[in-house]
Symmetry: C2
């Protein structure tokens, strides 16, 4: 079974109050993509945050740092201007997800208040408009300890499991699997980034060919502190 990744082109700059689902539906038409059941629409959180008005002024470095500190539930590390912090959702990332790229000078984009709920809302609106039963994943770009470079991960999901639990399944030789929990929705986020790019105006993509059902949440991906060896 093969999988296709298609960029959704033609989505304009998004501003607070915009109907993002409608812009994506238009973008799908421009991209000549007809959604079918089980398609996954992956959206970078930046356009979600903008549509939801989650942007704030940050005139200078100090204002920006204060914004990151305000968005942080707790701070794990500081180095210069960089803060590694846990957000209210539980995600651990740079500057509590507050970002100044791809936004007007003097402004910063925050994470959506409830990205799982945002994903669900956008999913329902696209489903109603197009009559297909789909899933939605909202992504952000995170760094990682130990490995250089950033990768896209899921911060919101609707219509998919966040984690694929293979416990009890057997491998090709009939042995019970060691690898039991796959962060499938993070792999979907990373895959979609391959067609979205960072400097292009492509904030969304379609992942087609995965046969998954379930109702996970991106917050399922937050490792409980008692299981975490690196806080």
């Amino acid at each position: 079974m093969s999988i296709e990744l298609h960029p959704i082109v033609g989505i304009p700059e998004v501003a607070p109050g915009d109907d993002l689902a409608a812009l994506i539906v238009d973008g799908l038409a421009t991209s000549k993509i007809t959604l079918t059941d089980r398609d996954i629409v992956v959206i970078t959180h930046k356009v979600v945050s903008k549509a939801e008005g989650r942007i704030e002024q940050a005139a200078d470095d100090r204002a920006y740092r204060e914004l990151a500190e305000r968005e942080a539930r707790s701070i794990l590390r500081r180095r210069g201007d960089l803060l590694i912090a846990q957000t209210e959702h539980g995600f651990i990332c740079a500057n509590a997800g507050v970002d100044r790229s791809n936004v007007e000078d003097g402004w910063a984009v925050l994470l959506p208040v409830d990205p799982d709920r945002s994903a669900h809302r956008i999913r329902l609106r696209i489903e109603r408009a197009l009559g297909a039963s789909i899933a939605v994943v909202i992504t952000d770009t995170f760094g990682r300890p130990w490995r250089r470079g950033l990768v896209d991960v899921a911060i919101g999901v609707s219509g998919l499991p966040a984690i694929l639990d293979l416990r009890g399944e057997t491998d090709a030789r009939g042995r019970t699997m060691n690898v039991t929990e796959i962060a499938i929705v993070d792999e979907i986020a990373a895959a979609a980034d391959l067609v979205m790019g960072k400097s292009d105006q492509i904030p969304a993509a379609v992942v087609r060919g995965l046969d998954l059902t379930g109702e996970g949440r991106a917050t399922d991906l937050v490792r409980p502190p008692e299981e975490d060896m690196f806080r």
Copy 2:
């Protein structure tokens, strides 16, 4: 520009001394995939390690733990039977990459000695056999701090940059990018895992449609200790 992910089926169980490149070439024929220039062949390291004889007996939990300790250059954390360790290559992962799934009972699979070199060797053999200019990525399945679930990452690469450096590039509004280094080869590894699965006998996949050139190494992804805040 769209991307396709195709599983390579028909690759049999791999044993020490097997010609893995030849098995992949046969699998491509079985899968009716004709490689073209810039295709990326992604291979789970387990078949690479087996072909290279990187499997060892581990009769019980103690032998297995000793093997993991032997493969570790340094140990970051211990919890019960789980070791978080840095390998000789520099990767930080569970049990220094030593794994007992998808191998005969009483045996364990180690990481290839030099996965970048393995990738290069396999690439050249496939290129000679099929006449296409391709890239090869070798993957493993790693856990992450803070986020539940495992994702596939690159541990070997040939014919691709490991990291996409966007420094100096500008975003859609002409501002210099904040997000400067994308771990593109990890995103490719994660994407390929979507068609490989863990319990199926599908140890390789083709990623088609990315237009990348370069000669990175997976060891480029190792974050230098002085930059790392979580050791």
